[in-house]
Subunit: 115 residues, 2 copies
DNA sequence: TCTATAGTTAAGTAAATGCTTAACCAACCG
DNA sequence: CGGTTGGTTAAGCATTTACTTAACTATAGA
């Protein structure tokens, strides 16, 4: 991978890790501080911070620091982009099934006519 | 990551690579042989095969070999799982916004009563 | 002011990723 | 049979990932 990753690369890659998916899950219920996000995990704080950095780089999460606490929140738009990509492939797949169905129906008709 | 990846880990990880997403895209329009899948890319056949292996391990793609050609197709159910996961987080996010809205409305009412 | 809290930076490491080339097999085809 | 086509395996390599520990900064509160 010489070329740099696209936004969608970053989003799916970010979601490919269970810890990061759990963080997104947690944040989908409301904002949380770094401390709160880290609390469920056995791993070190710097490790959590690195996951957070990946999530922020992907656009899935935003954060702002007030005083000494950083509060993180989901950016739903980015999650939507990922959902849209999947929905579009599902759509092409279904269009294909429709066409296949039409074809099979047409073939059946022809066979009926032949009989 | 000492523990082995979950199915969802594998799916999102598989979708995190642009080449693999393009392959899923291609396959969403209909089945293709390994040769056909490899054709758009500058990379070697073994590299394509490795991407294919990742896609198969994730469950996004299935394949069967007839004679000497292997034909690959999407398994839509796996794509659905990924879409469902995203949809569920979007749902919690929206529920949260609803509750926030109710709270704000209630607060506004209280303030009206106080006045 | 002293100290605990919340977060950050840097550097190092083991394992996983995404490729490569070389060698190989098995099926179809003239 | 012998060559071409389609796919596969193995080995190697540079890069990225997911952590770690140690050291550090800045804010909040007693």
């Amino acid at each position: 991978m010489l070329n740099q990753p696209t936004p969608l690369d970053r989003v799916f890659h970010a979601l490919g890790d269970p810890t990061r998916r759990e963080m997104v899950d947690r944040l989908s219920h409301g904002p949380a501080t770094v401390k709160q996000l880290a609390e469920p995990y056995a791993m070190s704080l710097p490790a959590v911070l690195q996951h957070l950095k990946v999530l922020e780089a992907s656009g899935l999460v935003t954060s702002e620091k007030v005083g000494r606490v950083r509060t993180c929140r989901i950016d739903h738009k980015t999650l939507d982009h990922a959902g849209d990509w999947i929905a579009r492939r599902q759509a092409s797949w279904e269009r294909r099934l429709d066409k296949l169905g039409e074809y099979l129906a047409a073939t059946a008709d022809e066979q009926n006519e032949e009989q």
